[in-house]
Symmetry: C2
DNA sequence: CTAATTTACGCAAACGATACCGGTTCATTT
DNA sequence: AAATGAACCGGTATCGTTTGCGTAAATTAG
């Protein structure tokens, strides 16, 4: 037994009408008599008629679904962002179809193609750690796909973007470390070409400069695969912690890097904040329960998801082609806790 | 400019063939000459032809998409499970459409209706904390919707189920607490009628019984809204911790309850494990970095998602109606850490 | 009372792809 | 030489819905 719903044809047959009359009655057309309307409407209600969205999609050339492409779902920042996206989509009657790149460029390309081929009306995306080339995105975009870039945004111009003020967040985080007495601060960031990486590293550098602290390039590390696996972060931290300029504090520039750095310190018995201070970007909601409690930059992930989804759906629903592109920049929150408080 | 893809009709027109010939050529039918096939195939490749999945869905009466209904995406267990589901779906060419109940019965019903009305081919679900009545699920199921129940399973019979051995997990967790010298153990669980709650509480009780420890009903608390918000857990813990039988250990029976219990102890300055031991179900991957490091029951969430998705997709693809229903029960992992080690 | 207009509905095409039912060539068999 | 049968391809209905157009009956205007 297959799952089958009642169709307009069934209603027409049952009531001795044509499908077009039924269709118009359901859409409350003026050229259907009140009595017929009433008959159709009540019959439809009784039999729980729901228009077939697939037939509608074929006809209207739109699917009422949006795709979301992120590097990893099981990541507090992205799952919160998806949460926001889903809430807006639900309100506006859209499906959310999710796909993951797992930080691989190839998987990003194929996932995006997958979404496009599944006729989503638009795509919300945050690029993978391996993505420095945006042609696959731009091609899709130029062919008319509605797209909104969030978090790790793209460099080309005419597209809505939603992110936090990464420069300011990193600047203030670094300043906090400096004000707490740390002066040899390492910065472990994501892949070097990502927007968030460049902005955060710039904020880090600017804070050092404004406090007359020399910028040491060896103090900056990049995780070319997003710090997704522990070993990647370990390798980079080994270079810093066993190097000549052993830092007295670390600024960890993403969720995964932060937790993996914490793990590194535990594994290698490096005490925080005595031996090294730690401040990380993180959206976990129990960073205050960690040992030590962790100073963090928290991004408004849920809000970012909501805004990005609203921009996308508005763009999809807009009659005229959109020419005004927003670059929404939200403030991040800085929470000071024990991991940056020298005894 | 709208996003438009090339269709079979375009190919037919360009090559001076009929749509049916093109269709057959693309599907490698034997009744198309090799030359024609070659022409069609190369033209299709050149112009990046992708069959329109919506048209296919309408014709074949299947959408190649599955729905996932969970209480909350931003929850480590569910995001990992969705991760597993998505990986299988990707392999088999299915979309994953997600919906959240937020632990509300009403939202579960409407979300499930939403998924059904969007013509998903099947639904993977874990019921909300408020769901004691399964008629909305059973109705959909009886109308022929393919469904697989995971984690918080349903009570009716003929349906695939995937879960962990909750009884055993709770039994062993409780036994660990007992063996570590705790003997007045509170159990804070999810809503009382959920499968996972009943099984875990039974496991807890059985362990007490087997160790000749009396079962005190006041030591058992239920979070009727899943412990999603802190205040709910706080209220229940207040009753236990300020009551007559103040427990010396707590078994927290879900992700959210575990972290909120930990938060409670911090807020109320209750030292773990000195004043109270804590062992919780949790799928966070930094419970070892908490203060103190947390003893946990960890569920194979990714694996559960994979298995559930495979069962569902196999059922969808099956020609004959499925009569054999699996009840997959996986083992959970018990990790002993400091939160259960009395000094 | 005729002519014009309105009302209320049906017919059929369209969206993209598939599949059944034919039909037209040739080559092979009796 | 006629019949059979592959081989190859086109026409068309179909999925469920919307919509432009056509048209009969009913109403109104002149």
């Amino acid at each position: 037994m297959r799952f089958e719903a009642i169709t307009i044809k069934d209603i027409a047959l049952a009531l001795g009408l044509s499908t077009s009359t039924v269709s118009r009655a359901l859409r409350d057309s003026h050229e259907i008599s009140p009595e017929t309307k009433e008959k159709v409407l009540s019959y439809a209600k009784e039999n729980n008629y729901k228009p077939n969205p697939i037939a509608l999609s074929l006809k209207e050339k739109r699917s009422s679904s949006i795709g979301v492409l992120v590097s990893e779902i099981a990541n507090s920042f992205f799952s919160q962002a998806i949460n926001g996206i889903e809430s807006v989509a639900q309100e506006k009657g859209y499906n959310v179809i999710i796909a993951q790149s797992k930080e691989y460029f190839d998987r990003e390309v194929s996932s995006m193609q997958f979404l496009a081929s599944r006729s989503v009306d638009g795509i919300l995306f945050s690029v993978s750690a391996e993505t420095s080339d945006f042609t696959h995105i731009q091609q899709l975009y130029n062919r008319g796909m509605h797209m909104v870039s969030f978090d790790r945004t793209v460099s080309f111009g005419d597209i809505h973007k939603v992110s936090v003020d990464n420069f300011k967040a990193a600047y203030e985080a670094t300043t906090l470390l400096i004000n707490n007495g740390f002066n040899n601060i390492a910065c472990i960031a994501n892949a070097s070409f990502l927007s968030i990486t460049m902005e955060r590293v710039e904020g880090y550098k600017a804070a050092l400069k404004d406090h007359s602290i020399p910028i040491i390039e060896e103090n900056i590390g990049f995780c070319s695969h997003g710090g997704l696996i522990y070993e990647e972060v370990e390798e980079i931290l080994n270079k810093k912690m066993l190097g000549i300029h052993k830092p007295d504090a670390i600024l960890a520039c993403s969720d995964k890097i932060t937790t993996n750095t914490m793990r590194y310190c535990q594994v290698h018995k490096i005490s925080i904040p005595q031996e090294v201070g730690l401040l990380g970007f993180s959206n976990l909601d129990l960073t205050d329960l960690l040992s030590p409690s962790l100073s963090v930059v928290r991004q408004p992930a849920y809000e970012m998801g909501r805004i990005a989804a609203e921009l996308l759906i508005n763009q999809i629903a807009s009659k005229r082609p959109v020419t005004q592109f927003n670059n929404v920049v939200l403030p991040a929150e800085l929470h000071q806790r024990d991991s940056t408080r020298k005894k």
